[in-house]
Subunit: 162 residues, 2 copies
């Protein structure tokens, strides 16, 4: 039987393991820099930077979702879904849809007008699922990231606003 | 002379106007659902959902940046840059770079490890600028959004976690 629950701080090691499994599925196993301590510090308490749902099948952890608030200057407040993952041996049972439904429900509870996320363009099962739920691809948009030395170099040109 | 400052609540009408100008540049003039009241309520105070920088040239508003916190389960805390815009007649003076530098500086002040944003794939001047600053395109990722009826339909399958 499937249940979905809010994660508790004792889940930090489990969440870190699920993050790693998802990165391996994405072909990016070496990209995970966060530690169990990061997850424990950043994911719980009154200043939590994200929220985590755990999916359990017969009390065994089988998937998770990580989400936080987003703000669209066109649409207003929304939810960003950073991670959505179901362990391979538990797929095709509706667990991904149930996690997404929980995220959608949370969005409506918190007066958020949309849920936004990113998907790998070769992940056809995920693309098919999202389309079947009525989600849209933002086709002309590309994601950009600046980090490491590039971020430090550019930051030196900026002034402190504090 | 260029200055960059934090927005104040009296800037809400200006910010709403700049959001509209950017949407028009993006070819999406009819997509802006937020009002000046939304910007005023959501952008200021202790529970602000985003932060805004205003660029001024000789005390005249010429551009803006809207940002908020993001959390990467791979990299940890980061900044999401929702909007970056310079009015057309003030381009090619380094104002976009100065706004981005301010965002990068803010990221470093707040122990954020990256800045992430989205760009339209036909916006070659923006793509060239970001590449010159050391930013990377996340080439295989596509943005997905679920809102409106699709969100409401899916939310009804989710259970309250409160």
């Amino acid at each position: 039987m499937l249940t979905i629950r809010d994660a508790i701080s004792e889940d930090a090691a489990l969440i870190r393991a699920l993050i790693q499994e998802l990165a391996e599925y994405d072909g990016e196993a070496d990209q995970v820099r966060t530690t169990e301590a990061d997850i424990s510090r950043d994911g719980f308490g009154t200043n939590a930077k994200f929220r985590t749902f755990i999916a359990e099948w017969d009390s065994q952890a089988v998937g998770f979702a990580v989400l936080f608030h987003y703000y669209s200057t066109w649409q207003g407040p929304g939810i960003y879904l950073e991670d959505l993952y179901v362990r391979p041996e538990f797929r095709r049972r509706g667990i991904g849809t149930a996690l997404l439904a929980q995220v959608a429900h949370t969005a409506q509870e918190e007066n958020c007008r949309f849920v936004r996320w990113a998907v790998l363009d070769w992940n056809q099962p995920a693309l098919d699922l999202y389309a079947s739920l009525g989600a849209s691809l933002l086709n002309n948009w590309r994601c950009v990231v600046l980090d490491g030395d590039g971020l430090a170099r550019l930051a030196r040109k900026g002034l402190s606003k504090t």
